[in-house]
């Protein structure tokens, strides 16, 4: 028999809708409508100021799939993601486990590791740019070397990834400390009784219990890394011979849309990225369902 909705539950439902309405309306107007609009733009040859957009169908996409620069930038973005996300997670995981014990000065260590997160990304990039400077930078002074950090195509993207890892360690570490504290002590005690070493209990207790949080960090980390723009924009000069090997796909979108006034093609690049990130996100979530069968 159908349960009759009581007046109370109807009132609750009504108030629920009213309270989430601002966010929903904001989402529709500020997120969904621009997405639809961008998809439409990608099917146009855009005129200036949105006047005179000429519908051209799939031409932009055909150009996109034949554009070597787009695929080069895509590969650069993948290279950055493959380096930045794992290193960031491994380092922050180790730090989080170490800082979970009651060592002296634990709070100050946690604060220090979190500091990069509160620095403005542009300021971070500028300081790192000077450190990487080949002739006058700090790194070449300390190592007494002459490494072409930001102009060697083989090294430049790694330098950008180093800055990316450095910036994100703090945030990941804080999330992982929170997740670590949720693991019941009983598991560790039982493991100690059974004679497991610290390393064994780390791999057999800590990691499996952290998997949901780890997947969240991996997912947001990958999405953020695939959208990277500010670091290569500020660290690598356009006249650097490594430029085309570091330029990320979002940087390419910025160049087309704002420096070349070619919004239609820029929109095409963005939709292309949306599809790629969507597919990767779907893949990660499928993996998560398989491995975190909780």
């Amino acid at each position: 028999m159908q349960k009759m909705r009581t007046l109370k539950s109807k009132t609750e439902a009504k108030w629920g809708l009213i309270l989430i309405a601002p966010t929903i309306i904001g989402l529709l107007i500020l997120n969904f409508y621009p997405i639809i609009s961008t998809i439409y733009l990608s099917l146009c040859k855009t005129g200036d100021f949105g006047i005179g957009n000429k519908f051209i169908g799939y031409d932009n996409y055909i150009t996109l799939f034949q554009d070597k620069e787009v695929f080069h930038s895509l590969i650069n973005t993948f290279k950055y993601t493959i380096i930045e996300v794992p290193f960031s997670i491994v380092i922050s995981l180790i730090l989080a486990s170490l800082l979970n014990h009651n060592i002296f000065g634990r709070t100050s260590y946690r604060t220090i590791y979190f500091l990069p997160m509160i620095c403005a990304p542009a300021a971070v990039a500028m300081v790192w740019r000077w450190m990487f400077n080949q002739d006058f930078g700090l790194l070449n002074m300390i190592f007494r070397s002459n490494v072409a950090w930001v102009t060697d195509p083989n090294i430049a993207w790694i330098c950008v990834a180093i800055v990316g890892v450095w910036s994100s360690i703090g945030y990941n570490m804080v999330l992982l400390i929170g997740a670590l504290q949720d693991i019941p002590r009983d598991y560790y005690e039982a493991a100690t009784i059974d004679g497991a070493s610290a390393i064994k209990s780390f791999f057999h207790i800590t990691i499996p219990m952290l998997l949901p949080m780890l997947f969240f960090i991996i997912l947001t980390g990958v999405i953020g890394a695939l959208q990277l723009f500010d670091l290569p924009y500020m660290i690598i000069n356009r006249s650097s011979r490594a430029f085309s090997d570091v330029q990320t796909i979002t940087y390419l979108f910025y160049t087309y849309s704002f420096e070349h006034s070619n919004r239609g093609y820029g929109a095409t690049i963005v939709i292309f990225m949306l599809l790629i990130i969507g597919i990767i996100t779907y893949g990660i979530q499928k993996l998560e369902k398989k491995w975190c069968s909780v």
């Binding site: 200036d48 100021f49 072409a148």
Partner: protein, 435 residues
């Protein structure tokens, strides 16, 4: 105690949020208001001077003038948002990178009838390159406001250290190259270089050399590339063979900017524009710096600097009026006050730019005490001014220049071949602009 502290802290935070985040608006003159005009600009350095001129006009005309200063990129975003259906300022600056776009989109008021009626404004009095930039077959859309030129700034302490005589304006580009080479050779152990020219230094760099050699970057119609012109190729090969050996490596130049090296006593000579003088003027070691005119190139081998052999690229802003302004008469009146001869003189005396009105630049040169900036103004008589090469979407090929020249700069490709392939690509871009 804790509660009081936290209330105090939140109060401080809220106040600091309120006080930052407002764009720079200035005092509005208090006159019996017939109406008010908004003026948008992007250079805070010029605000004071312009506001003064506008207030004097406001007292006579009975209008309020409110200035709004944005930073460069916010300015164009603001204008674009305004065009698509928001609030537009009545009067605003126009720039070569955007002029054609705005003119083609019916955003700017056609000024022909106003110019004809106004005795104070005669287009012939302004630099032709600038007035041509801001006009098309339908007429004029902006009145030239100012212009800038290029000169060589050199570090006297470097010249003294290596016992080299200061350059004079009689020098040719060959002299420039050999002085630069001498400094680089003598400064090897100290890491000091004579010159600096990266592929991205176009307006304040190799554009000037191309035109001095008789070449061009783009044709006069802005429809075909000039990068495969034989004189252009000759100029770029001169850069490659004679100037680049005296410069830091291309990698070094991609790492560090030329003005940074100059003021850190690592560079003897740098080519820079008149708009940068203000940033040098505030330095501690300003007394080490001096300016000299750009060299010339003896194209016809007659040992005389003829017309077109000494070239400086120049650019200029314009004052535009919004097509849909409600106060077009008042807006024109203010624009006229700013760009008339008197207004331009006042601007030069008060501001930091050379005027768009021909022949009034001396005021600017003398507004910086203690340094001699005649290099920027004399070149208008001693040399030829060529307007900065542009087309409707110049950003596309300017970016391309920087990236495409890298192999030619660092020796992994031939300069001649690179110029030719750049010309082909640029022609493709220009064709798509004009279809």
């Amino acid at each position: 105690m804790k509660k009081i502290l936290s209330i105090l802290l939140s109060f401080v935070v809220v106040i600091s949020f309120i006080s930052c985040g407002k764009s720079n608006t200035s005092n509005v003159s208090k006159v019996d208001k017939k109406g008010s005009l908004t003026v948008a600009i992007w250079d805070n350095n010029q605000l004071k001077g312009l506001q003064q001129i506008a207030n004097e006009w406001g007292e006579k005309s009975g209008y309020d003038v409110e200035f709004e200063v944005f930073d460069w990129s916010t300015y164009w975003t603001m204008l674009e948002a305004g065009v698509s259906g928001g609030e537009m300022p009545d009067i605003f600056w126009m720039h070569s990178s955007y002029a054609q776009m705005y003119m083609d989109s019916n955003v700017l008021l056609n000024l022909n009838s106003e110019i004809a009626k106004d005795d104070a404004i005669d287009i012939a009095n302004y630099y032709p390159g600038i007035s041509n930039l801001y006009s098309n077959k339908d007429g004029h859309y902006a009145i030239p406001k100012d212009h800038d030129t290029i000169a060589v700034v050199y570090n006297k302490s470097i010249f003294d250290k290596y016992g080299i005589a200061y350059p004079t304006k009689a020098w040719t580009w060959e002299d420039f190259a050999s002085i630069a080479q001498e400094i680089t050779d003598k400064g090897k152990t100290d890491g000091v270089y004579g010159a600096y020219l990266d592929c991205g230094n176009n307006q304040s760099g190799w554009y000037n050399i191309i035109y001095a050699f008789g070449g061009e970057v783009i044709n006069d119609d802005h429809t075909k590339s000039g990068m495969d012109n034989p004189n252009t190729i000759k100029a770029m090969n001169f850069v490659k063979d004679k100037i680049l050996p005296a410069c830091p490596s291309q990698d070094s130049m991609a790492n560090t900017a030329g003005d940074t090296m100059l003021i850190s006593n690592k560079l003897g000579m740098y080519i820079d524009g008149s708009w940068m003088v203000n940033s040098y003027y505030s330095l501690d070691n300003i007394d080490d710096l001096a300016w000299v005119e750009l060299p010339w190139e003896d194209v016809n081998n007659n040992n005389i600097c003829d017309e077109g052999e000494r070239v400086s690229i120049y650019n200029g802003l314009g004052w535009s009026i919004y097509e849909g302004t409600e106060n077009s008469d008042a807006a024109w009146s203010l624009t006229s006050a700013l760009t008339s001869k008197e207004g331009q003189i006042k601007q030069s005396e008060l501001g930091v730019t050379m005027s768009g009105y021909v022949g009034l630049s001396d005021q600017w040169a003398s507004s910086f005490e203690g340094i001699d900036l005649s290099a920027y103004t004399d070149i208008e008589n001693d040399g030829t001014l060529i307007f900065r090469p542009y087309s409707k979407y110049a950003g596309r090929w300017e970016d391309y220049f920087t990236e495409a020249f890298i192999p030619a700069w660092n020796g992994s490709a031939s300069m001649t071949d690179t110029c030719k392939s750049i010309a082909t690509y640029m022609n493709g871009l220009l064709d798509s602009e004009n279809e």
